[in-house]
Symmetry: C2
């Protein structure tokens, strides 16, 4: 039960964008790659997931780049992680098909654990994370 590198890198990007939230400029992937140490091409894929969940917006072309759609004071770590970590689902059967539905003794356990994890992650905002105020 490990967090993927996408989850870690996605957080790095989010924190980096949080620093620039009040500026007018967009931050391009080259800069993000330099700041995080992750390859541009891989970051592009990760950021695409965040964009799909409306966590960042983008503009193309020269002076293009990315920006958070929401203030780091309200945007939570939970939302970022769910975007890049395939919804953070602990087991497949939770929202999909559970082969043993009804007889699976642990089904409710996974559900509660899932709630527990997410409700914690949703209490931490990006700005808290950036200031290590957790």
């Amino acid at each position: 039960m490990k967090m993927s590198s996408k989850a870690r890198y996605g957080l790095y990007v989010a924190v980096e964008l949080a620093q620039n939230y009040n500026k007018d400029e967009y931050t391009n992937v080259t800069t993000l790659s330099q700041k995080t140490g992750v390859s541009e091409k891989y970051l592009e894929q990760i950021i695409a997931l965040m964009k799909k969940q409306n966590i960042v917006t983008a503009t193309r072309g020269a002076t293009g780049g990315y920006k958070l759609t929401e203030s780091p004071y309200t945007l939570t770590v939970g939302r970022v992680l769910r975007a890049v970590e395939d919804n953070l689902e602990i087991v497949d059967c939770l929202h999909g098909e559970c082969a043993q539905r009804g007889t699976c003794v642990a089904h409710n356990l996974w559900g509660k654990l899932y709630e527990n994890i997410n409700s914690y992650l949703d209490t931490v905002t990006l700005s808290q994370l950036a200031e290590d105020n957790i």
Copy 2:
């Protein structure tokens, strides 16, 4: 961030053994395999992990098998999962080496999340799980 099949199967075994906790007999792997639908050989490996963490005891030979070392009223789901799921660690850097120690903005986050998950899992006992009283 998925639970492995070892984690799920380990729980099944634990719940099954919980049913027989008050009996004198040991439950052998053939029976456990039939009850859980998992192959004997795979279960042997999983149970070995539980044995290493002193969650079950075993006797060999005819009439041999496995038994919980502790009452299902006090044995928690957390202990079972930590035994079979490589200590449930969310990220590698938590108890091992963190390449970016000091600069890793998420280090504390993972620590807190880890605590959160485990403290929840340690509130659920095997008997509660067996009775779906979660």
